[in-house]
């Protein structure tokens, strides 16, 4: 668990002082991803780097796993927290293997254990160890480097991870792919993660919680759905955008709509279906997009085994007004 209590950072320079982070209070539960979101210069990076003491806190306190970070040995603290930055920060003078082994080596692991861990991590990241571990960072693509950056941070299995726009410099397709992999991995690992982003879609997709900041102040913190359905003030409303109702649709799947509607209104499954087909696991925003582009405004829903379940049409979305994902999980 990570807890911020009146956390404040004031940068002092000769002629002026900048309050980059002002009286922040919130906590993140173990195993949760909390995304820091906000416009450039709002203090996301500063708050993140205060956690591993790369930036010393001015006032207030931060606790990691129940211990005040200022009472811990700084080197030990940092070795127990995974750290990933935007341009991966891989060490160009070391091979991929050596990069991944940096923290385990400092912790005094034996060779066998390091070797095993390194292969395990590379496989988890979808990179063949035999092919890549002896290479140098410049011999990898940007997306591959970023994966190694994450593998390196995970090497000593730290319970807490700090990630500063780890997917920021990648093109949209690779980014989407890595986000999905990241979620898959997190499902097993259950790390407590602080994740900086300035992309609202990324925050909704990855965050168990989203914390929105403006000029050093915490504007709102909540689940993606709380933020989208109940923006606390004008800043948050503007920041998430006028299409927030559409964005909320990404939080729900066709399956959820089926549960809510007790199946679909139209069952025309004895006939052959020539129109579009979507999976029951697709999110509702994509489903709506399919519907809008279907000639007759209907698409067929299939399950994982391609079995036809029913026909979805735009009017099914009527059911969805004012429904929160929470309500649906109760129905489930």
């Amino acid at each position: 668990m990570i807890e911020f209590q009146n956390a404040t950072k004031v940068y002092e320079s000769v002629d002026k002082s900048v309050t980059a982070v002002n009286n922040i209070n919130f906590h993140v539960e173990p195993g949760e991803i909390c995304v820091f979101l906000g416009p450039s210069g709002c203090g996301k990076t500063t708050l993140l780097r205060m956690v591993n003491r790369l930036i010393p806190i001015t006032r207030g306190s931060i606790e990691v796993e129940g211990k005040n970070i200022n009472s811990m040995d700084i080197i030990k603290l940092r070795r127990s927290i995974g750290y990933v930055i935007q341009h991966n920060g891989l060490f160009p003078n070391m091979t991929i293997e050596d990069n991944i082994n940096v923290v385990p080596k400092m912790l005094g692991w034996d060779q066998n254990r390091m070797k095993k861990r390194c292969s395990e991590l590379m496989e988890m990241m979808g990179l063949d160890p035999g092919q890549f571990q002896k290479r140098y960072p410049f011999e990898l693509s940007g997306g591959q480097q970023q994966r190694i950056g994450i593998a390196r941070a995970l090497a000593a299995d730290p319970p807490v991870m700090l990630m500063d726009e780890p997917f920021g410099a990648l093109d949209p397709i690779i980014r989407d792919h890595l986000q999905n992999e990241f979620l898959r991995i997190q499902k097993e690992m259950k790390k407590t993660i602080l994740f900086v982003s300035h992309d609202i879609d990324e925050a909704i997709k990855l965050g168990d919680k989203v914390a929105i900041f403006d000029t050093g102040e915490l504007m709102q913190i909540g689940t993606p759905d709380e933020i989208l359905s109940n923006p606390k003030n004008d800043f948050v409303r503007d920041f998430v955008g006028d299409d927030r109702a559409l964005k909320r649709l990404t939080l729900l799947k066709v399956r959820d709509l089926m549960v809510l509607s007790d199946g679909f209104r139209k069952h025309r499954l004895n006939n052959e279906w020539h129109g579009q087909v979507i999976s029951v696991n697709e999110n509702l925003k994509t489903a709506l997009s399919h519907l809008l582009s279907a000639p007759n405004g209907e698409v067929c829903v299939v399950d994982d085994h391609n079995k036809k379940l029913g026909v979805l049409c735009v009017s099914d979305f009527n059911l969805f007004t004012e429904v929160h994902p929470k309500d649906i999980s109760i129905v489930r």
Binding site: L77, Y83, I85, H87, V102
Partner: protein, 245 residues
């Protein structure tokens, strides 16, 4: 690609100049002199190498640690003072340095080594400082964030990533010193300058070139060897710039 072409043209031009000097040396009888006096030549070359070698070793042993010292956070504020001193030092002509040092140490090879040492400091110092300061700050940040001690940050990140620049400085100063070393003769330091200045005073181009040609070949040879050394000690992950160039 075009960069590679110009490089090839420049290289071809240099080879042409070297070959014509060799040709000139041949026709003025320099080689004959060399063949007739192999012992003299070997002895003088040995002296020359000793001058360059000792002064380079001393320069590396002072300039590299000094460069490292003034890039440490504690001494960071001093770095421009030191660099400016070194810069001003470099503007003093080699001959003037020889004259100055001579009035203290008198004549002899020690004086020559001191002057050559002084002459080598700046390229090595400047490259060491620039090399360390140009290490990508994100790498240092990542290292700190992962819990490296400042010693580990220096030995595992800063130094290896600056090695390429440091080696370039060493190469530059060694090559310059092979040339400057010819002046050592003027203060009784010996070396291949002996033949060069003897040739000049006798108006004998052959003898002059029989000293100058070995100086050129020595410079080329040492540069080549240092390049090989560089390939060995600079981490392979940093050598892509060489391949790309």
């Amino acid at each position: 690609m075009s960069g590679k072409k110009t490089e090839q043209i420049v290289k071809a031009g240099l080879y042409l100049i070297i070959i014509s000097i060799l040709g000139w040396a041949y026709f003025t009888g320099a080689f004959q002199f060399i063949i007739e006096n192999p012992k003299d030549l070997l002895y003088l070359t040995g002296q020359h190498l000793k001058l360059v070698g000792i002064s380079a070793a001393l320069a590396i042993a002072t300039a590299v640690p000094l460069g490292i010292l003034i890039t440490r956070p504690k001494f960071k504020r001093l770095d421009w003072v030191v660099l400016n001193f070194a810069n001003i030092g470099q503007t003093v002509p080699s001959l003037a340095i020889l004259a100055l040092v001579m009035s203290y140490f008198g004549l002899g090879w020690q004086t020559a080594i001191f002057a050559l040492w002084f002459n080598s400091l700046l390229p090595i110092l400047r490259n060491t400082v620039a090399g360390i300061e140009n290490v990508n700050p994100q790498i240092i940040d990542a290292g700190n964030g992962m819990g490296m001690t400042s010693k580990q940050v220096f030995f595992k990140l800063e130094l290896p990533n600056a090695l390429y620049a440091i080696m370039a400085g060493i190469r530059t100063s060694v090559v310059i010193n092979v040339g400057t070393g010819a002046l050592a003769f003027l203060i009784g330091g010996g070396g291949l300058g002996d033949l060069i200045f003897t040739g000049i005073s006798l108006y004998d181009t052959g003898i002059m070139l029989s000293g100058a040609v070995p100086v050129i070949l020595l410079a080329i040879l040492l540069d080549f060897l240092l390049e090989k050394l560089e390939k060995i000690i600079v981490p392979r992950g940093l050598q892509r710039t060489l391949e790309a160039a």
